[in-house]
Assembly symmetry: C2
Homo-oligomer: 345 residues x 2
């Protein structure tokens, strides 16, 4: 059995609506774009015709005429497929919703790995005039995407801090303050000796988390246990081994904060392997509040990022530039929220 494509029926045009309502095309256009300039009676008649015919302006024609695309380009970060950024799915959802609230669609672009591919993708989007502006996520201090967008004069907004010297159109969370919240929470539960688990890689946000952890611990007079050689170290078995050594030693921490949710799994494993119980003997916390947290036993305390607020701010920042409004020159820092669960009660 074979099915031919059903030819989509030709869409209604503005001329057909105008004829049906007995007005000119311009009046139909005004009805949609400047209703205050149309007589109420006419407005009603045209509106009725629009609804009856199911008319919607052709976005391509409108874009060609006005220059506005009503579309935001999102350059997906090129994740390591073996360790995807755990919050990108949620962030993208929030971005689409925020853009939709402002009447904009989101066009998804995924360059292959490497700065050159990202630059080409940006040039392509800009030259073909497919978007009004760009949103980047996972932006680090020096970022080829940001530099290229700035050079091309395209409006953009970044989730993550840009380098000085570039336009500061970014939003980020306060990683340091979030880790300080974690430390205060642990201190309030009576913990006096605490540990911090991070990867060897040290992006700026990781450094901020580490620093926030140490600073707040110092302020509260907590002892921060130094990781033994090999820990935090590589994830998986090596890290578990290092953590077990730490737990067996004389300086055993009563609480361990992980820089993210997945590494907390290594902590769970080390604690159990030492015959201890997470939550009862050793408190554990994560970061990002992925769905995993609620499914773990015990459920994992974590830091929830305000993804909807981040997305809304990015869209606002971006559209202000698109509209030619002046834009505050400094990045915006948003607070994250600690979600306490059984792993640290």
């Amino acid at each position: 059995m074979t099915q031919g494509a059903r030819p989509p029926r030709r869409a209604t045009t503005i001329a057909e609506v105008a004829r049906a309502a007995g007005v000119s095309r311009q009046t139909v256009s005004n009805t949609l774009n400047a209703p205050h300039r149309v007589h109420p009676d006419t407005l009603a008649r045209v509106t009725t015709a629009i609804e009856e015919l199911g008319y919607r302006p052709d976005q391509s024609a409108r874009s060609l005429r006005t220059g506005e695309r009503r579309t935001i380009g999102y350059l997906a970060p090129v994740d390591d497929p073996f360790d995807p950024n755990p919050l990108m799915a949620g962030f993208l959802e929030a971005l689409v919703d925020a853009a939709g609230a402002e009447g904009h669609r989101v066009l998804l672009v995924r360059p292959t790995a490497g700065d050159e591919a990202a630059r080409a993708a940006i040039d392509e989007l800009v030259a073909a005039r497919q978007v009004d502006g760009l949103v980047f996520a996972d932006v680090l201090h020096e970022d080829a995407r940001v530099a290229r967008a700035a050079r091309a004069g395209v409006p953009f907004a970044a989730f993550g801090r840009t380098a000085p010297g570039l336009p500061q159109h970014w939003v980020d969370i306060d990683n340091g303050a979030a880790m300080a919240d974690v430390v205060r929470h642990l201190a309030a539960r009576g913990h006096r000796r605490v540990g911090f688990v991070a990867s060897d890689a040290e992006p700026p946000w990781m450094a901020a988390r580490r620093e926030g952890f140490h600073a707040e611990a110092r302020r509260l007079g907590l002892e921060v246990v130094q990781s033994p050689p090999g820990a935090p170290g590589a994830p998986g078995a090596p890290r578990v081994a290092a953590l077990r050594e730490l737990l067996r030693g004389p300086q055993r921490p009563t609480a361990v904060a992980a820089e993210s949710d997945l590494p907390a799994l290594d902590v769970y494993e080390a604690v159990r392997a030492e015959g201890l119980a997470v939550g009862r003997d050793i408190a554990v916390t994560g970061f990002h509040d992925t769905p995993l947290c609620r499914h773990l036993h015990p459920a994992l305390t974590s830091v929830r990022l305000p993804l909807r607020a981040i997305a809304a701010t990015l869209v606002r920042l971006l559209l202000a530039q698109v509209r030619g409004e002046s834009v505050p020159g400094a990045g915006q820092v948003l607070a994250a929220e600690l979600v306490v669960r059984a792993s640290s009660e």
Copy 2:
């Protein structure tokens, strides 16, 4: 400090390229769209001019003229934010790549919950002629989105089987065969008594997995342990309790297959709580092969979905309709791949 938006410099048009190359606009157009109709020398001259000026055709103008949008609309499934579909992020990445390989972008749309919102979103996209076709994911047997797209005559392709009576433009994995693979793997490891953990909800793919599991177990003469009341049941503590009861009973299975990766966490917990070891005493398997699998201790055996093949097939199916080619009338079933890890070795 305040930064005004830098006005994006006017993009190069076809006329400017024509002037620079000393030819007419049509020749430039031909250079791009029908190079075989242009004299080699002219071609080279025009191509050089295009590169020097960084010219790319304005996509809106081209769309208006040709009717082609070169854009695929993706209606994101409205996930339960507390239990998002674990493979949607990976699927979307694969879809963007597959579309890009065919010269198409992906426009992301996220209707609010409910069939009515989905229908409105589809009508909007179609009426405003923003996309050439639609891709749906998480499609169940009766799906309002598919029905609407079919009625509107928009080309579409679905990840998940559609109801009979509708166009069968879908791709799905063979859930039953995948679970049969799991059973065969367990049998090969010497397991004779096996259990299956699923949610109470019973979407078609869940039923297929259950059925595939039971059928293959029967065929191989394995004993399938009946879940006690309350299990599989609700996730979390209730399910763990039911599983522990099962493990304590006389019919203790030596292997348990979960319908997805996250539920496998409940199995891990139950096994440990009974003083047993996952992998050594009880084999456990998941489904979806999320990043979680590699981070668990022990790493979780799981079923990996061929997301790239699924996405490529969907795009091919969709674009065939867009181009008016005849399309095979039956859905396509793809095989998944078992990834064996320490949890079932």
